[in-house]
């Protein structure tokens, strides 16, 4: 889900891509300005998306129907992995061009909300979402969508035995093999360290992070980490090439490898839950229409199932699981069997301390 485009107009050539994105945004803004306010026929709804298969799935599962019902013309502006920076940049320039964000990662979503850049859900809409999706999936600004798990993977062709939970993954005496670990999204990475240090998975979401303690746990593991990944395709390449037999990676990517014939054991116990969120961007041109889109998505479990079937990431409506083949439903993070084994990061703490943790993790990673 959180792929980074390496090369092209993604991470490589940042300034060029920012400039191009700015031009695209200006063009989009002109179109929006020309179309008038929310809900009018022909209004353009601009969604900060991920590109590729995610955009295609969102278009097919939701937007085709939503657009035809409302007379909207939805469009994506792709910013894979950098939506937070784009929303902040738009706010800094007082030119907010996005109306909604599609499956924004949890750390970025809570940070933007804490900075007042995502629209709070009206009380009635929030109650409706909680009723439809369950309170666990709903936040003050949106609902989870496209979630996955940071799970342990173990190549059974190269390992005689595999860790059975996160504490064992961090046990380098029992498992001295080289491994891979997350080089991005510090809050999810340190949540696994918290679990390994003994914090119960039911408490990670509310326990303030002891940065020094988790870094001490991570420093002990670091000599055994051969590579820190930065994207999903890199995770797969590292495992597929046999570079390491063990690691933590995104659940969707792990099952994709298995479907390609790689002998992997996936362990959910003690992994980190990685929710992403649909939310409405504050100060966007079409907030009311974007809010209607959120309601549409939340209330269409069959459409969510269609989305999950394409992307293989989780969707929030419990009824959606029933529409999916069991082989896919069993791989999703929101499947109750998997979800109860995952530790949810303390995103509320992170939103207030992101600079502290980001700097500390940067120094841990490259210092």
């Amino acid at each position: 889900m959180r792929d980074l485009i390496i090369g092209g107009a993604g991470r490589l050539g940042g300034r060029v891509s920012v400039a191009l994105a700015a031009l695209a945004l200006l063009a989009g803004g002109a179109a929006i300005a020309g179309c008038g306010g929310s809900g009018k026929s022909g209004t353009t709804l601009t969604i900060g998306g991920w590109g590729g298969v995610i955009d295609e799935a969102t278009q097919k599962a939701y937007l085709n129907q939503f657009d035809s019902q409302t007379g909207t013309k939805s469009q994506f502006v792709d910013a894979p992995g950098v939506q937070l920076a784009r929303v902040e940049a738009q706010n800094a320039a007082h030119q907010v061009q996005w109306d909604a964000v599609d499956s924004l990662d949890g750390g970025s979503a809570f940070t933007l909300y804490a900075k007042g850049q995502l629209l709070p859900l009206p009380a009635a809409q929030r109650a409706s979402f909680e009723s439809e999706l369950g309170a666990q999936k709903v936040t003050p600004f949106g609902f989870s969508h496209g979630s996955l798990g940071d799970v342990i993977v173990c190549n059974t062709e190269k390992m005689k035995s595999c860790p059975s939970d996160m504490a064992q993954f961090y046990d380098t005496k029992a498992f001295p093999q080289p491994r891979m670990f997350g080089g991005i999204e510090p809050i999810e990475a340190i949540t696994t360290a918290e679990v390994a240090a003994g914090i119960p998975i039911a408490h990670t979401a509310t326990t303030p992070v002891d940065v020094k303690a988790v870094l001490k746990t991570l420093e002990a593991l670091k000599p055994y980490i051969k590579v820190f990944w930065q994207s999903g395709d890199q995770q797969q390449q590292i495992i597929r090439s046999g570079q390491v037999p063990l690691g933590i990676m995104w659940s969707d990517r792990a099952y994709q490898l298995i479907s390609q014939g790689v002998k992997l054991k996936v362990v959910w116990a003690g992994g980190a839950y990685e929710p992403s969120y649909w939310a409405v961007v504050k100060s966007g041109h079409n907030a009311a229409l974007a809010s209607r889109l959120l309601t549409f998505i939340a209330s269409h479990p069959r459409s969510q199932a269609t989305w999950a079937e394409i992307v293989h990431d989780s969707v929030p409506n419990p009824r959606a699981l029933g529409y999916l083949p069991a082989s896919i439903a069993s791989q999703l993070a929101d499947n109750p069997v998997n979800l109860k084994q995952l530790a949810t990061p303390n995103f509320t703490w992170y939103a207030q301390h992101s600079e502290e943790l980001n700097t500390a993790y940067e120094n841990f990673l490259r210092g």
Binding site: I6, G7, G8, R11, L12, G14, R15, V18, G81, V82, L84, A85, E88, A89, G183, I184, I225, K226, V227, F228, W229, Q230, Q234, Q237, S241, G242, Q243, S354, E355, N358, T359, E362, N363, L365, R366, G367
Partner: protein
């Protein structure tokens, strides 16, 4: 064009200044808009936004920032030396070889990296260096393996050198074309060994080109991003990754600006040293 020079009607290849300026104006405008202004604004922003001068202190005092800067400079120096040595050897062989086939093969070796995209080029090296890859298997067959070079500084250096060799080769080929080969023959005729002739005649004549090519390779190497990430992993401490993180992940433009200006200053300093070493005139001729 035929009467471009002067009022006497005689033909000249030299354009009058006003025409030359008119032709150059679009290029100058682009240069001002896309290079001078952004770099100027970047410098001003790094000094006036966030913590001001403290932005520089934050970069240089953080372990990640310091290590990224040192690693980037050292790797760029190493890559410059190796790329100039390899590129120079290739360029010289192309210059002196009498075999069309050999020259063609050498040009192919020089041009091939230009024909591939950055990601493709680096993934090719990933395949080559990965565990149980061709190199690893070959070394195992020879009883020297297993060796896993991927996600190490060696892998990053190999990737950077592969990309930069053509730049060095092109810069040096032009220099070698201007060297009279009969001087080497004369040195040999006067009893100098091959090595003595190269060290005593060829290298001094090629020095400005070597320095210019090295400076060019160094300046480009400072900005490498994809190669360190793909071949070294996220832990590879390079300034481009550091800057990228502060722009897109942390949205901290002041720190990113300061780190970028530091890289710019390093590149300008190296150019200054190159100028001091070989003199402006010789360097300009070497780059021409």
């Amino acid at each position: 064009m035929s009467t471009a020079a002067g009022g006497d009607g005689a033909w000249s290849a030299v354009l009058p200044n006003r025409y030359a300026l008119a032709l150059l104006a679009p290029l100058l405008a682009v240069l001002l808009a896309l290079v001078v202004y952004p770099l100027g604004k970047l410098t001003v922003d790094s000094l006036t936004s966030g913590a001001g001068v403290g932005n520089y202190e934050a970069v240089l005092s953080s372990p990640a920032g310091r290590r990224a800067l040192v690693t980037t400079i050292l790797a760029s120096v190493l890559v410059s030396v190796v790329a100039v040595a390899l590129g120079g050897t290739l360029a010289w062989q192309i210059r002196v070889s009498s075999s069309r086939w050999l020259r063609g093969a050498l040009w192919l070796a020089v041009l091939a990296p230009f024909w591939m995209g950055t990601v493709v080029k680096n993934y090719a090296i990933v395949i080559l260096l990965s565990a149980e890859g061709p190199l690893d298997r070959a070394l195992q067959t020879l009883g020297l393996g297993p060796v896993s070079w991927l996600y190490t500084s060696t892998a990053v250096a190999i990737g950077m050198v592969y990309t930069m060799v053509p730049y060095a080769a092109f810069a040096l080929y032009g220099v070698f074309l201007g060297i009279d080969r009969s001087l080497l023959d004369a040195a040999r005729g006067l009893g100098a060994s091959r090595a003595r002739a190269i060290a005593g005649v060829l290298l001094p004549l090629a020095l400005p080109g070597l320095v210019a090519g090295g400076a060019l390779v160094f300046a480009i190497s400072l900005g490498f991003y994809v190669t360190p990430v793909l071949l070294g992993g996220a832990q590879a401490p390079f300034m481009a990754s550091y800057i990228q993180d502060y722009i897109f992940t942390f949205y901290d433009y002041p720190i990113a600006s300061a780190a970028s200006v530091i890289l710019l200053v390093v590149a300008l300093a190296v150019l200054g040293v190159a100028l001091a070493l070989v003199g402006r005139g010789r360097l300009r001729r070497a780059l021409a």
